[in-house]
């Protein structure tokens, strides 16, 4: 272990007890290995309870099929629309959030006066810590009517494009609104990572580029973005994981449609989200449906695990100064 310091041959007047050290390191080691146990336990117990659902529905059908009905015979639990909806909302949310997050970080790091930068930093960092249920409350009570109006305008102006068409003339509870709420939630997450990278960036490189005749725009495009891109991508993937796992905020601003895929009509009030599905069905669920909900949890966990592993790998690569 780390006793590379205490020389072995030295005779001490009072010998330190080695057992205490052993206990100390054993405790630390046990704590370190506890995260193995935790991840393994999560997977094991979820799989244990979820297995009946996978078995009765078939794994492929369960993940990719459509339909969720606990009263039909046989019962149908297919989470395809939910999974696709989660991915769709997360993708649109991230696509909306990335330009905003990069803008606000660039604004804070390179443009704003010191006082303005401080205020903006506090707002962004506080919003990164705000509970999602509060975002849900804001989304339902304040933002949904406004965003529905935006959706109506979009549909009236650009309705000839299939994405923005809306046949039912209801604009509330659509994937569009859910994506905007998700964007508001993840902008602070991406922005706080991006801002940190921007502020840690080597000023000498920027000054050098300026001395070579670089302008604000060319420095941003050719020096700042390439240097920070890895970190930004990692932050985006972390936010993507958060967006896919988001439960309560989406639950209140999205109409869940179990039976069919809503492939691209983002302004229509039907969509899906795995985590919200769990929340929506949990209280009424009996044994078989409960098992299906747990199976949905397993799928969600595996998907976010993959996304997050890629994210943490990229973030590590992009921030060499964080490495030991």
């Amino acid at each position: 272990m780390s006793n590379d310091v205490a020389p072995k041959r030295l005779k001490l007047v009072s010998k330190p007890s080695r057992t205490a050290d052993k206990v100390f390191f054993a405790v630390a080691k046990a704590a370190g290995y506890s995260s193995f146990v935790l991840v393994a336990a999560i997977l094991f117990f979820l799989m244990l309870r979820a297995w009946p659902a996978f078995e009765s529905q078939g794994v492929v059908n369960f993940i990719f099929g459509a339909g969720w009905n606990s009263t039909s015979d046989p019962q149908v639990f297919h989470m395809g629309p939910m999974l696709y909806g989660s991915l769709l909302i997360a993708a649109i949310g991230v696509a909306l959030a990335v330009p905003m997050a990069i803008s606000i970080s660039y604004f804070i790091a390179f443009m704003a006066t010191e006082r303005l930068a401080k205020v903006a930093t506090v707002i962004v960092d506080l919003l990164a810590a705000i509970p999602s249920v509060v975002i849900g409350l804001w989304g339902l009570g304040v933002f949904s009517p406004v965003a529905a109006e935006w959706g109506r305008m979009l549909s009236e102006a650009l309705g000839f494009i299939p994405i923005f068409s809306n046949a039912v003339d209801i604009f509330l509870r659509s994937p569009f609104i859910a994506s905007l709420v998700i964007a508001v939630m993840i902008v602070p997450i991406i922005a706080s990572i991006t801002r940190e990278i921007f502020s840690q960036m080597d000023q000498e490189i920027i000054k050098g580029a300026m001395a070579l005749g670089g302008t604000r725009e060319s420095i941003f495009r050719k020096v700042i973005l390439p240097t920070a891109s890895g970190g930004i991508v990692g932050g985006v993937l972390l936010a993507l994981g958060r967006a896919m796992g988001e439960t309560v905020a989406i639950f209140f601003v999205l109409n869940l449609t179990f039976d069919e895929f809503n492939w691209f009509k983002i302004l229509e009030p039907s969509g899906g989200a795995v985590a919200s599905l769990v929340l929506a069905r949990f209280n009424e669920a009996l044994q078989t449906e409960l098992s299906a909900l747990l199976a949905a949890g397993v799928v969600l966990f595996v998907v976010t695990l993959i996304v997050n592993t890629i994210a943490s790998y990229i973030v590590d690569k992009a921030q060499p100064w964080r490495k030991l």
């Binding site: 780390s2 006793n3 205490a6 009072s14 330190p16 007890s17 080695r18 205490a20 100390f24 390191f25 630390a28 080691k29 704590a31 370190g32 995260s35 193995f36 991840v39 999560i42 117990f45 979820l46 979820a50 905003m100 997050a101 803008s103 606000i104 660039y106 390179f110 443009m111 707002i123 962004v124 506080l126 919003l127 509970p131 509060v134 409350l137 804001w138 339902l140 009570g141 933002f143 109006e149 508001v184 902008v187 920027i206 302008t215 604000r216 725009e217 941003f220 972390l238 796992g245 988001e246 439960t247 769990v278 747990l294 949890g297 969600l300 695990l305 996304v307 997050n308 592993t309 943490s312």
Partner: protein, 360 residues
């Protein structure tokens, strides 16, 4: 606003100070004229604000920005002007959205807040009961109890994990770090399902406060261990080696030298960890019954917390229910704000300072 077109330059770099006049003029014109045209068009033509913003203001502002860049720096300045306009436009949009979240919580919440809202519980309260009765007292208590139990379990575990990552040279550290980062992205609803499937379906326990505390552990652990790890890493190696050279065993060196030196970092870790879990909703809904009465026993009966209180009243959806939800959201925001400010203060204190000598 006056000098946004130029990058910050060294103060003693005087030669291009003459550019200042042109830049300043162009910046002033480009920041005032489009807004004036926009306001005139918006009020004059009675357009919808968002539509006018996107179809009138943004193109005009972009054109003026490009002109200002051209006027100041010549052809290569055009892109600069566009970049500045786009950045400020998006930043303002984001700040307005985020500010709207804060403002609506504060203004709507303040309307619902009153002394009895802090200490009364929710018994006999339905969706239509007036605001003069009932409160979130039981939820505040529940939040404190559930968060407290989770903190008591997770802080030693998280700090010990940080010790494992910094003080040992074990081969599995990389994997543990990766796993912790993966856990950091664990969907909170899955954490709830985990405890539900492990302890509640199997009949070991019913849906009580303790289960909610357990469900929050996997969510809190990554935050604590990551921040604690970084603060332990900031402690200089010489300090440790000095203690070891004086004959202290490793555990004494850690508890008497390293840990006191990293104290503020550990405090920050705890505060950030609590801030991470205090607003979690989904796992609590799955693992603990949302009670309407004060319950301080985490092993029996349901327990409400601030997030589930908000969820509950948001679900009911009446006007007064929504007001209650806003009030609880403000209380929750104040909690988060206190933790946030505390973490800022703690992390602003220099890490690695000499621990004060204790007097006997």
């Amino acid at each position: 606003m006056t000098d946004t077109l130029s990058m910050p330059r060294p103060k003693n770099a005087a030669p291009w100070v003459n550019l200042g006049g042109r830049v300043r003029l162009a910046s002033w014109v480009a920041s005032i004229a489009p807004s004036a045209i926009f306001v005139a068009a918006w009020l004059g033509l009675q357009l919808d604000f968002m539509a006018a913003l996107l179809t009138i203001f943004l193109p005009i502002q972009l054109a003026f920005g490009a002109w200002a860049g051209f006027y100041s720096y010549g052809r290569k300045g055009v892109n600069d002007g566009l970049l500045v306009v786009v950045t400020i436009f998006f930043s303002t949009f984001v700040l307005v959205l985020l500010g709207s979240v804060l403002w609506s919580v504060i203004s709507e919440g303040a309307a619902a807040l009153s002394p009895h809202f802090i200490y009364q519980n929710n018994r006999y309260i339905t969706g239509t009961t007036g605001l003069e009765l009932g409160g979130a007292g039981h939820a505040i208590l529940g939040s404190i109890i559930i968060t407290g139990i989770t903190t008591l379990i997770t802080v030693p575990l998280g700090v010990a994990t940080a010790v494992y990552l910094t003080e040992t040279r074990d081969g599995a550290r990389g994997i543990v770090r990766t796993l912790l980062q993966a856990l950091a992205g664990l969907p909170s609803v899955v954490a709830g399902l985990f405890i539900y499937s492990m302890l509640i379906v199997s009949g070991w326990s019913s849906q009580v406060g303790l289960m909610a505390s357990l469900a929050l552990i996997p969510l809190m652990l990554p935050t604590i261990s990551r921040v604690a790890e970084e603060s332990l890493r900031l402690v200089p190696t010489e300090l440790r080696n000095g203690a070891l050279a004086l004959g202290a065993p490793s555990y004494k060196a850690f508890f008497m030298v390293t840990l006191p030196a990293a104290k503020t970092g550990i405090v920050t870790a705890i505060l950030l960890g609590v801030a991470r879990i205090i607003g979690e909703t989904a796992p609590l809904i799955l693992t603990a019954v949302i009670a309407n009465e004060t319950n301080v026993n985490p092993t029996a009966g349901g327990m409400a917390t601030l997030p589930t209180y908000i969820y509950n009243f948001l679900y009911l959806g009446d006007a007064t229910s929504l007001q209650r939800a806003w009030g609880a959201a403000l209380v929750l925001l104040i909690f988060v704000g206190i933790l946030f400010v505390g973490a800022r203060i703690a992390s602003a204190t220099r890490v690695g300072t000499k621990p004060k000598r204790r007097k006997k």
